[in-house]
C-alpha cells in the first residue's frame, strides 16, 4: 500500500502542499483531482524525490520510500519527454534496465509493450519520427515496462483522442487487476468516474475529500435534481427552501438541494406550473461534488 503522510512543501510564498495525505491500496485505481495549482503535480513529483518535502513522509507498505523502492514505481510526468533520436525499442529497454530489469527481461518487456500498444512494427523508429499519439503510447510504455508496483501518471488523458482514451482506461484497469496501485491525476471528471472507484480531491495543498466515489457522492450535503418541463414560464423556479438553481436551458433545469429537502416538494411545485416530462433525484455528480468541495 502506498501512503503519503502529512506532506508539506513551500516554494517561497506559495504553500504547494499543506498537510497532504493519501493512501492507495494494491489493485486500486485512484483518481487524483483538484483545480490548477492545488498541488497535484508537486505531490506526484514528491513520490519520486523530484521535489524534496519540507516535512511529511512517502511510504510503501509502511516503509519510507528511497531510491530502491522508486525503481519499482512507474512514472509518467506531466511534461512528457523521451530521447527524440533514440529508437523506441531500445528506449523502452533502457528505461526497463534503469528500473532494475536485466538486459534480456527488459528487451522482452519492451517488445511485449510495443506489441500491446500496436507499435511492434515501429520498434526501430526514432521517437521523433512518430506521430504525437504514438509518442504518447511510448511514454506510457516507458512508465509500465518494468511492471511497477505503483504507477503514477500526471494528466495521462490530456490531449488524447477518444480511442486513445479508451485504450489508456483499459490499460489502467488492467494494471490494477495485475495488482499494481495506480494513481492518476485528471481534469476530465466524467472520465474519472468511468475509470476508477476511488478519488482524492486536493485543494490548496490539502486533501478535502478522499475515498470511494459513490460513498463520497452519497455523503455530500446536497442532492442533484434534474427536471424537464413543458409549458412552464421561462423564469419558473420551485419555491422550496434549500433548493438553488445551477443551470437552466429551455425547459431543462438542474437544481441542487440540501440533503434534507424532500424531492416530492420540488416535484409537486413543478407539476403545479407545467407538465413534467422528466424528473430525477440523487447524489451529486463528481463535477458537482468537485465544485462543492473546492468552492472559492
Amino acid at each position: 500500500m502506498f501512503s503519503l503522510l502529512d506532506a508539506h512543501k513551500r516554494f517561497g510564498p506559495i504553500e504547494a502542499l499543506a498537510g497532504c495525505s493519501m493512501e492507495i491500496e494494491r489493485g486500486h485505481v485512484l483518481g487524483f483531482l483538484g483545480p490548477n495549482g492545488a498541488g497535484k503535480t508537486t505531490a506526484m513529483r514528491a513520490i519520486f524525490g523530484l521535489v524534496e518535502l519540507d516535512t511529511g513522509e512517502v511510504l510503501w507498505d509502511g516503509h519510507r520510500v528511497g531510491p530502491d523502492e522508486r525503481l519499482r514505481f512507474g512514472y509518467m510526468p506531466e511534461e512528457r519527454g523521451l530521447y527524440p533520436r533514440m529508437r523506441i525499442g531500445e528506449q523502452l529497454e533502457y528505461f526497463g534496465r534503469l528500473h532494475g530489469l536485466e538486459a534480456g527481461a527488459a528487451q522482452s518487456a519492451a517488445s511485449v509493450w510495443l506489441e500491446r500498444l500496436g507499435l511492434a512494427d515501429r520498434a526501430e523508429a526514432k521517437v521523433e519520427e512518430l506521430s504525437h499519439g504514438n509518442q504518447q503510447r511510448v511514454q506510457l510504455a516507458a512508465a509500465l515496462v518494468h511492471e511497477p508496483e505503483l504507477l503514477v501518471l500526471d494528466e495521462p488523458f490530456a490531449g488524447l483522442d477518444p480511442v486513445a482514451v479508451q485504450t489508456l482506461a483499459d490499460v489502467l484497469r488492467a494494471e490494477a487487476a495485475r495488482g499494481a496501485a495506480v494513481l492518476f491525476s485528471s481534469h476530465q471528471l466524467e472520465l474519472v468516474e468511468d475509470v476508477c472507484e476511488d478519488v482524492a480531491i486536493i485543494d490548496r495543498g490539502r486533501i478535502v475529500a478522499a475515498g470511494d466515489l459513490d460513498a463520497l457522492r452519497r455523503s455530500s450535503q446536497r442532492r442533484r435534481i434534474a427536471v424537464r418541463l413543458e409549458g412552464a414560464p421561462h423564469d419558473w423556479l420551485p419555491v422550496v427552501d434549500g433548493v438553488e438553481l445551477v443551470e437552466r436551458s429551455n425547459g431543462d433545469l438542474r437544481l441542487l438541494a440540501r440533503q434534507d429537502v424532500d424531492p416530492e416538494l420540488v416535484l409537486e411545485a413543478a407539476e403545479r406550473s407545467a407538465r413534467v416530462v422528466e424528473f430525477s433525484y440523487g447524489p451529486p455528480s463528481l463535477s458537482e461534488l468537485f465544485l462543492e468541495l473546492v468552492e472559492r
Binding site: 523530484l50 514505481f73 512514472y75 510526468p77 519527454g81 530521447y83 534503469l98 516507458a142 512508465a143
Partner: protein
C-alpha cells in the same frame, strides 16, 4: 539498483547513441589521417641536407666514404668531413658553427652543439660501425652536446608541445561541449524528469561524463598513440624520447576532462530551457581558452620561469600546460606529483559542488540561474 549499475547503464547509452551518429568515427579517421599524413608531408618537404662533421687527426682511412654511404638512406644527404688538429680545435669549430658535429673516435663520442641531431647521429654511427667491422668490433657512439641540452629547445619539441596542447584544448572543448549538449537536450526535451525518477542526479552526471569521456579518451589515445609510436619508431625527424611526451597527453586528457566536463555539465544544467547548448557552455570554453593562451604566453616567454611553473601545478591549467612544458623543457617529478594531487583534489571538490548544482538545475523549470544563485543552491543542506 546500485549506483555503479546506473552509472554504467547511462554511460553505455551515451556511447552507443554517439557511436551511431558517425561523428565520432569520422573525426577519429580525420585526425588519424592528419597524423599519418604529417609523416608523408615531412618526407616530401625535407630538403637534401649536408652534414658537416669534424674529426681529429688522424682520420681513419675510408671514413669519408663510409659517412657518405651512411647518409644514403636519408635522401642522399651529403657529408662534409673536416679534419681538425685536436679535440679543442674541434670544439671551437663546433662552437663557431663551422661544423655540425665533432666525432671523437678515441672516446666513442659524437658531440653536437646544443641538441642532438638524430639523423646525423645515425649516419655517423653507421659509418663508424662499418669501419670498425674491419678494426676491433663493437662499441657505438655516445651522442653528447657541447652545451646543456635544456638550454635550447628544438623545433620538434616546440611542435610537439604546441600540437599536443592544441589537441588537448580541442578535445576538452569538443567533448565538453558534447556533455553540455547532452545535458541541455535532456532538459529541453524533458526526458530528464523520467530518468531522474529512477536515477540519482549524481549517477546520471557520472554516467554521462564517463561515457563521453571514454569516447574522447579512445579517440585521443588512438591519435596521440599513433603520433607517439611514429616518434618512437623514428618516422619523424625528432628525438625519439618525445614519444613519451606525446603519450603524456592521454592521461592528462582524462584528468582535464574529469575537471572540465563536470563544469560543463553544471553549466548545462544551469542554463534556461530556451538557451541553446552553444551559449550554455561558453563560460567554461572561455575559461579553457584563457588557460590555453595564458599557458602559451608563459611557456613561450620562459618555459622554466615561475609563471610557467605555477601554471604547471595550478589545477585549472595543469592539464593543458603540464604536457606542453614537459615536451619543451621537462617537468621534475615532484611537479608531476603535485599537479596530479591538486587536480584530483579539485575534481573531487568540483564534483561535489557541481553535482548539487546539476541536481537542482535539472529539476528546476523556467529561467537560467546566475552563478550566485547556483552557489546558494549548492550550499543548501
Amino acid at each position: 539498483m546500485t549506483g555503479a549499475r546506473a552509472v554504467r547503464l547511462v554511460a553505455e547509452r551515451e556511447i552507443r547513441e554517439r557511436l551511431r551518429s558517425k561523428v565520432f568515427l569520422a573525426s577519429t579517421i580525420v585526425l588519424l589521417a592528419l597524423v599519418g599524413g604529417s609523416v608523408a608531408l615531412q618526407g616530401a618537404l625535407s630538403k637534401q641536407e649536408t652534414y658537416r662533421v669534424a674529426v681529429v687527426v688522424p682520420a681513419p682511412h675510408g671514413l669519408a666514404a663510409a659517412l657518405q654511404r651512411g647518409a644514403e638512406p636519408f635522401d642522399d644527404a651529403k657529408v662534409e668531413l673536416r679534419v681538425v688538429a685536436s679535440p679543442a680545435a674541434g670544439r671551437q669549430a663546433l662552437d663557431a658553427d663551422e661544423v655540425d658535429a665533432l666525432l671523437l673516435l678515441g672516446a666513442d663520442r659524437l658531440v653536437f652543439r646544443s641538441s642532438v641531431d638524430a639523423k646525423a647521429a645515425a649516419v655517423a654511427e653507421t659509418a663508424v660501425r662499418e669501419l670498425r667491422h674491419r678494426l676491433p668490433p663493437e662499441p657505438e657512439l655516445q651522442a653528447a652536446t657541447l652545451e646543456p641540452a635544456d638550454d635550447e629547445t628544438t623545433d620538434a619539441e616546440v611542435l610537439v608541445a604546441y600540437a599536443g596542447s592544441i589537441l588537448l584544448l580541442m578535445s576538452l572543448a569538443v567533448y565538453g561541449q558534447w556533455v553540455v549538449t547532452g545535458v541541455v537536450e535532456e532538459r529541453s526535451n524533458r526526458v530528464v524528469e523520467l530518468v531522474l525518477s529512477a536515477v540519482h542526479p549524481r549517477h546520471l552526471l557520472a554516467g554521462k561524463v564517463l561515457g563521453i569521456g571514454l569516447l574522447g579518451l579512445t579517440q585521443l589515445a588512438l591519435v596521440a598513440g599513433l603520433a607517439a609510436a611514429l616518434l618512437v619508431s623514428g618516422a619523424f625527424d625528432a628525438p625519439r624520447s618525445l614519444g613519451g611526451d606525446v603519450a603524456l597527453v592521454i592521461p592528462w586528457f582524462a584528468l582535464g576532462f574529469a575537471l572540465y566536463s563536470v563544469a560543463y555539465a553544471a553549466a548545462g544544467a544551469l542554463a534556461s530551457r530556451q538557451q541553446n547548448a552553444d551559449t550554455a557552455g561558453q563560460p567554461v570554453t572561455y575559461a579553457l581558452l584563457a588557460v590555453y593562451f595564458g599557458g602559451y604566453v608563459a611557456l613561450s616567454s620562459d618555459p622554466s620561469g615561475p609563471l610557467a611553473t605555477l601554471l604547471t601545478v595550478f589545477p585549472v591549467s595543469a592539464p593543458l600546460v603540464l604536457p606542453a612544458r614537459s615536451a619543451l623543457v621537462g617537468v621534475p617529478l615532484w611537479e608531476h606529483a603535485l599537479a596530479l594531487v591538486l587536480v584530483l583534489g579539485s575534481v573531487y571538490a568540483l564534483v561535489r559542488f557541481a553535482g548539487r548544482v546539476y541536481a537542482h538545475g535539472l529539476l528546476r523549470g523556467g529561467p537560467g540561474l546566475g552563478l550566485r544563485a547556483a552557489w546558494r543552491l549548492a550550499r543548501e543542506p
